[in-house]
């Protein structure tokens, strides 16, 4: 086929019927209106990993709230005669060294891990988020003070600080563990929130709102925080998983939750003595822990992809 404008010096005009000129800048009214959150939801619900992790998390939450629904066996009624017993009917995961039912202990241990994870996440998100938002938005001396204070807490790795504090604390409950972890973990969220607030604060829409006469605090609440919250949500989801691991590590070291409180970390720690003879005593609670953490990490990944400003902006 010969080229349409083979003579290069000639004046070529495309057939107008083949290249109709559309009206300039007309709103496409066929598409449905949607907010950014609706968009994010749309992209999330297409991902299988969103459903897998959400369903797992929901299940884990139900187990944490009502463990009795999942096992009739009392995790504390242990027979030494069953010590390290193999799985049997009604005892799918076998028995611990003390002769307790492994499955029942896992079910009943869920609550402690989830409580610590949720509490610590809630604390760092609220406290760290608020501190970071105020520091970033108001700047000045408040920002300097808060940032330096954050640097100091950031210089103590979370679990190291928790080891020190937990080893001297007289009371050890899921709440104290959560508070101690949050105490050393807040600067991370604060930093992220501060950065996000700073970039939202310098956007033109905030300047436009100022010029419209909207008050500073209302701008912070209505424009800045809603636009800065996305990375915090992502980090909070992932943090939930890491807090659960941190609690397990502390319990494993014997300074997390006391042995009287059933938790996966405690069970794994105690199982180490019988690891060679009956590894399932260690592996099942470890698997429960890992699946829980994995669910939150997976959800965090999906949420990140859905809220990613790079993928969304300027389509």
């Amino acid at each position: 086929m010969p080229s349409k404008n083979f003579t290069p010096q000639g004046h070529y005009v495309a057939p107008i019927e083949e290249t109709p000129v559309a009206a300039v800048d007309v709103l496409d009214e066929t598409q449905k209106a949607r907010s950014t959150w609706a968009d994010a939801w749309d992209s999330m619900r297409r991902r299988p990993s969103f459903w897998i992790s959400s369903i797992l998390i929901l299940l884990i939450l139900i187990v944490a709230v009502a463990p009795g629904l999942f096992t009739p066996i009392d995790p504390r009624s242990c027979q030494l005669s069953d010590s390290n017993g193999a799985p049997s009917a009604g005892h799918p995961f076998g028995f611990t060294r003390q002769g307790c039912d492994v499955f029942s202990r896992i079910i009943h241990g869920t609550q402690a891990s989830i409580t610590v994870g949720l509490m610590a996440t809630l604390l760092v998100t609220l406290v760290g988020g608020a501190i970071g938002a105020l520091a970033g938005f108001y700047g000045g001396i408040l920002d300097t003070l808060v940032s330096r204070l954050g640097d100091i807490f950031f210089a103590v790795p979370t679990v190291l600080g928790a080891i020190v504090l937990m080893s001297v604390l007289p009371v050890r409950t899921p709440i104290t563990v959560a508070v101690v972890l949050a105490l050393f973990a807040w600067p991370q969220i604060a930093r992220i929130m501060r950065g996000a607030v700073l970039s939202a604060k310098n956007s033109d829409y905030v300047m436009a709102s100022v010029a419209l006469g909207v008050t500073r605090f209302k701008i912070l609440l209505r424009h800045v925080i809603p636009n800065a919250i996305a990375p915090v949500i992502v980090i909070a989801t992932v943090s939930l998983g890491t807090f659960i691991v941190a609690e397990a590590t502390l319990s494993f070291l014997g300074i997390g939750l006391p042995p009287t409180i059933m938790s996966w970390g405690n069970d794994i720690g105690q199982a180490r003595t019988s690891i060679r003879t009956s590894p399932q005593v260690l592996l099942y609670p470890a698997a429960a822990l890992s699946i829980t953490v994995l669910s939150f990490l997976m959800l965090g990944d999906v949420v990140r992809d859905a809220l990613d400003p790079k993928a969304r902006a300027r389509r």
């Binding site: 086929m1 080229s3 349409k4 404008n5 083979f6 290069p8 010096q9 000639g10 004046h11 070529y12 005009v13 495309a14 107008i16 083949e18 290249t19 000129v21 559309a22 300039v24 800048d25 709103l27 009214e29 598409q31 209106a33 949607r34 907010s35 950014t36 959150w37 968009d39 956007s203 033109d204 829409y205 300047m207 436009a208 709102s209 100022v210 010029a211 419209l212 006469g213 909207v214 008050t215 209302k218 424009h223 809603p226 636009n227 969304r312 902006a313 300027r314 389509r315």
Partner: protein, 582 residues
């Protein structure tokens, strides 16, 4: 040098009149989940040795994709789905990765669009130039270093030898673009692809750099494929034009011919709307007898503009609504150590804005024009001087007085992507000022939102939408509607049309003009683009380095610029070499 001059010449003689680059029926598509989305649909173009050809089009026209397809630089999932790209008779689309790598740099150089992001921030300038020279086997070792200096000097960096070890962030935008041009030409390629090489730069810098590029390519006999959105620029810089629209070529041919006699409706629209051309036309018409002024296509901006320009000349001066007296703004900039630098962003500036008129503040980046806008909007406090609005000193207004002022003076910002909160629906965005000033009931506010949307020619259903669903022009309409919500007297338009495509820009300018007439608005128009000023402004203040260097009526500034800097700015408007009015 890898290509001795004699060889090039003999090649030319051997294949006299064989095109250097011939694109035939090129199709490029991007793979998505919903299948292949075409971006370039059957493009043909022919470029002869030593010629300059410009592809002109708006964003999304496929002009950049076409250029990138030539040397296999398509981003992401893009790929050539049909057609041929013949370079010296060889089909580039059939080459292996290694073969095309040999063509890149050596035979075809490339100058990208944004000088800020196209140099690797972690390597020195010298390294990045030398790397290109070595990769194309132009020189090795010590000689490569010498060649690097030579390349940079030719590109216009006189102190190249001293600056080899510096990093991109230590160079200005213009200097970086010179480096990129140096890299693109370092192997003396036969063809240079220049993709909007200066659209991120100030107009005067743009002019010098394009002049320099033209000299270099002429000296080396390099053909240039020039990609631009600016029809005036294309016509000025290239002999041949290819106009693209929605992935297709709608018109092509000699630039003079196309500009003087555009045949395709799309090209006609472009010619009519391009501010650089329109401002030139107004200039040339003013010096002609009225009956000769009919050479323009019908229904273009020109009639209305000419009428306005004539009207301006007879308008009686009114009272200043805004009066800026000896205003300065000083910023303290932290430097290394505990020292501060003082930057006088605005230096003793005085001007007035008459009620119902448009006053433009023109300047390049760093001139302080946007700071002036912020000072007037009371978004920044002045260091010294006085700003009066309607006879009242507004500096340091607080509380309800400030709120009252804000109701009367509203801004529209440049970036149509940044000036609307992405989390707010259009309706909420437009209603926000009403809510902030506690005006009306929910029902009344909704009625007002509909009315405002109608004023900016958007359907009332737009209020349910979110900014991410709207085009740049539509967003800018929303921003204007929001600014109008409180029925202000003054709009401060800070580069409000600069980020838009030409046709959309024309529409918004028309809208602004209509609104001004209907509502009796006063505009303060901040821009870097003198061509646009010609179309809309009554008075002009030219700013340079914080000072107003020239202030007069638009006609005076264009007809009889007194300052050298203003003359430079005027000369930098593209399309100057083009003869209008045959």
């Amino acid at each position: 040098m890898s290509q001795p001059v004699s060889e090039t010449v003999s090649l030319l003689e051997g294949e006299a009149n064989a095109p250097l680059l011939q694109i035939r029926d090129l199709e490029v598509g991007f793979e998505t989940q919903r299948g292949i989305v075409p971006a370039v649909r059957g493009v043909d173009l022919t470029l002869y040795a030593g010629q300059t050809l410009a592809i002109v089009g708006e964003s999304g026209s496929g002009k950049t994709t076409t250029a990138q397809a030539i040397i296999d630089l398509l981003p992401g999932t893009g790929k050539v789905t049909g057609g041929q790209i013949l370079f010296e008779g060889r089909d580039l689309t059939k080459l292996s990765a290694r073969e095309i790598q040999a063509v890149r740099g050596n035979d075809i150089g490339y100058v990208p669009q944004d000088p800020m992001s196209n140099l690797n921030p972690v390597w020195s300038i010298g390294f990045q130039v030398e790397e290109a020279i070595k990769a194309n086997n132009i020189a090795q070792g010590k000689e490569a270093r010498l060649r690097t200096i030579q390349v940079l000097k030719e590109a216009g960096l006189s102190d190249a030898a001293d600056r080899l070890k510096q990093y991109p962030h230590q160079f200005s935008g213009g200097m970086r673009q010179r480096v990129l041009i140096g890299i693109g030409l370092s192997s003396r390629p036969k063809l240079l692809i220049a993709d909007e090489p200066t659209s991120a730069l100030d107009v005067t810098v743009q002019r010098t750099i394009l002049d320099h590029l033209a000299t270099l390519t002429r000296d080396y006999g390099t053909s240039v494929l020039f990609i631009t959105h600016d029809l005036g620029l294309a016509a000025e810089r290239a002999e041949q034009l290819v106009v693209m629209y929605k992935g297709k070529v709608v018109e092509s041919g000699p630039s003079q011919e196309i500009l003087a006699n555009p045949k395709h409706p799309y090209t006609q629209r472009l010619v009519a709307a391009a501010p650089s051309l329109a401002s030139r036309r107004i200039q040339s018409v003013k010096h002609q007898a009225p009956d000769e002024a009919e050479i323009f296509s019908e229904g273009s901006l020109d009639d209305a503009l000419l009428a306005r320009a004539a009207e301006r000349e007879h308008a009686a001066p009114t009272k200043d609504l805004i009066s800026v007296k000896n205003v300065s703004k000083m910023y303290r900039i932290r430097k290394q150590g505990f020292r501060h630098d003082e930057l006088l962003a605005v230096n003793d500036v005085s001007f007035g804005v008459q009620k119902g008129t448009t006053t433009a503040i023109v300047g390049e980046s760093g001139s302080g024009k946007s700071t002036v806008a912020k000072l007037i909007l009371q978004l920044e406090s002045i260091t010294s001087g006085e700003i009066e609005f309607d006879g009242q000193d507004v500096a340091g207004l607080r509380g309800s007085e400030l709120l009252k002022f804000r109701r009367r003076v509203q801004p529209v910002f440049q970036d149509p992507y940044g000036s609307l909160d992405p989390q707010y629906s259009v309706g909420n965005t437009i209603a926000e000022p009403l809510l902030a000033h506690k005006i009306g009931t929910a029902k009344e506010r909704e009625a007002r939102v509909r009315e405002l949307l109608d004023q900016v020619s958007l359907p009332s259903a737009t209020r349910f939408r979110y900014p991410s669903e709207l085009s740049g022009g539509q967003r800018q309409r929303i921003a204007i509607a929001r600014a109008l919500a409180l029925k202000p007297d003054v709009l401060v338009l800070d580069e409000a049309v600069s980020a838009l495509d030409v046709l959309v820009q024309g529409q918004i300018l028309n809208l602004l003009t209509e609104l001004q007439t209907d509502l009796g608005l006063t505009y303060l128009f901040i821009t870097h683009d003198l061509a646009v000023v010609r179309l809309v402004a009554d008075n002009v203040c030219v700013m340079q380095k914080g000072r107003i260097v020239e202030a007069a009526t638009t006609d005076e500034v264009f007809d009889n610029p007194k300052e050298l800097y203003t003359q430079e700015l005027l000369a930098a408007i593209p399309g100057g070499d083009f003869e209008f009015g045959r």
